[in-house]
């Protein structure tokens, strides 16, 4: 267990507040928490790739960063117009 994996484990604790807001908040607040959880997951994948010393795993973080942005925009447009 190196410092990178410890940091990734500690960072996972941040999902708890995001989950609470996702369960209890208004729809737009749930979206903010979802976006924050996506950011947090990207950072966790980054730290895990470095912790396990597997450079190809960085691609997962990069793809998640791009897809969470696209997904967030879709949710934003959906909440803006219909819900």
């Amino acid at each position: 267990m190196n410092i990178w994996l410890i940091a990734a484990t500690v960072l996972l604790l941040g999902l708890i507040p995001c989950g609470v807001v996702c369960f209890k908040g208004a729809p737009i607040q749930r979206l903010v928490a979802l976006e924050m959880a996506g950011t947090l997951d990207v950072m966790v994948l980054l730290l895990l790739a470095q912790g396990f010393n597997q450079p190809p795993f960085y691609d997962l973080a990069l793809v998640l960063a791009l897809l969470s942005f696209a997904g967030g925009l879709v949710f934003v447009r959906f909440l803006e117009r219909w819900v």
């Binding site: 960072l11 507040p17 950011t39 450079p55 960085y58 960063a65 791009l66 942005f69």
Partner: protein, 116 residues
């Protein structure tokens, strides 16, 4: 522990600390716009700090370059998404994005006169 190791630990602590602080802020603050203020640093400061830690450890190897790429992508897309979310919140609240009459009146105080 070497100077490099201390630098890596400090940058990691900063990155992880900023994200956890922002997560708790989103939980504690009740207003949507205030929550968005916490979403900003998590997508700009934290990726730069963590990518900096990777660069310190690996230099500009494949891992270092990819970490910088992730930080750049997060730094570009994060503020755009935050702005889009704020815009959606305002449209849901008022039905449109344009300024309200009372907001226009508040902007045209004697200290800030309207353009002639």
């Amino acid at each position: 522990m070497t100077v490099q190791g201390i630098g890596v630990a400090v940058l990691l602590f900063a990155g992880v600390g900023v994200i956890l602080f922002c997560c708790v802020g989103i939980w504690v603050v009740p207003d949507t716009y205030d929550q968005l203020h916490f979403a900003g640093p998590a997508t700009t400061v934290a990726p730069v700090a963590i990518a900096g830690a990777v660069i310190l450890e690996e230099s500009f190897s494949q891992a270092g370059v990819k970490a910088v790429l992730v930080a750049v992508v997060m730094g570009v897309t994060g503020p755009a998404l935050t702005h889009a979310t704020g815009r959606a919140a305002r449209i849901r609240e008022h039905g449109h994005f344009a300024a309200l009459p009372e907001e226009m009146a508040a902007e045209t105080t004697p200290a800030n006169p309207p353009p002639s």
